[in-house]
Symmetry: C2
Amino acid sequence: MNDTKERILTTALALFARDGYEAVSVSDIAKALGITKGALYKHYKNKRDIFDSMLLRMLELDAGAARQNGVPEQRLAEDDRGYDEVNWAGLRQFTLAQFRFWTEDAFACPLRRMLSLEQYRSEEMGKLYQDMVVSGPVRYTADIFRRLMARGCMKRGDADTLAAQFYAPMFLLIAMADGGADGGLSVLEDSIDSFIGRWQA
Amino acid sequence: MNDTKERILTTALALFARDGYEAVSVSDIAKALGITKGALYKHYKNKRDIFDSMLLRMLELDAGAARQNGVPEQRLAEDDRGYDEVNWAGLRQFTLAQFRFWTEDAFACPLRRMLSLEQYRSEEMGKLYQDMVVSGPVRYTADIFRRLMARGCMKRGDADTLAAQFYAPMFLLIAMADGGADGGLSVLEDSIDSFIGRWQA
DNA sequence: TAGTATAGTAAACGATCGTTTACTTGTCAA
DNA sequence: TTGACAAGTAAACGATCGTTTACTATACTA
């Protein structure tokens, strides 16, 4: 029972991630599952409900991954709690883990692609996409840089500009991985190490 | 007459760029133009014909822009013709021009977004998108770097990795501009100048 | 001035859309 | 053993899809 509901979610996600929400019909999803479309409505109240369940699932997955990586829940917290252990090695490891997460994770990868296809359709989807893989990580990285500078671990500079430069290779290599390129991880490592070598104090 | 055909193209492009090809109906396009959908078929033989005309137009626009910027037609030419004037200042100027082109041009900007929404639907669209704004520019930049190194204008290093690092901020800032961010040009300038400062020989 | 494309409308075509209904089956607790 | 519920099918619903047809008004051309 719950197995079917789960299969619907992952199958629909794969289709949405390739063609976009509107381009995938309920019949397409049912056909891919080998059931009739009427059966879908025993598990989800409509097509949009399937989509919303994916977003909900992603929020849980993201929260879990963040907790595991020591990222504070409140990313823009005004105090230092949660950041006191941030250092270059941790940032490096976290960044590489994020790359694998967005390119290899069975759920996060297609969901990211799906959101990229929905980003222009509404403010809400645009913000979600930006927060997850575009300006969100840049803001987060800039925050880390400011703290590294404050602790004297990093040379002085504009944190926002530097964060964009640090995160940019990650973002490009994710897009290249989508295009079938491989070897992204090693290029990313090179890029990170080069950056650390330049800015570590 | 030709004016209507042109208005159909730009109006449909704006809609495709926001919602994706499949999510936009012929009625939507006609409604946005204030005509009936039957009239559309006096100018294009079907919906796909409108889409194909956009791609054709983009190829012309791209060829024109490339010629203007001194980019050789044959980007992977085996000889040096067309590259003999490449230098850091030219690369810098070309890169900034490309950023403005993909974020501000009335045709290129929505077409890029539209292609990003179609990139996973077929190999052909994926290749087109990659060639235009992802791995294509990286390959092209790596080519330039190899020539700069050969001429002693650039320190030695892995051209492919360096090209990814050089182009990455451009790609990220385009995505951030899509999210409504501004000031991307100055961050890009900083990034380019920093790169040149590090690798100029 | 008569004839002919051109660019538009309104209506209809069959197909498919998301969703609902009526019905069948299997499972498990009372 | 019975009865309720869960999970499925098949068929139909009205709406909308992309496309075609028949027709009208306008403008140029012989």
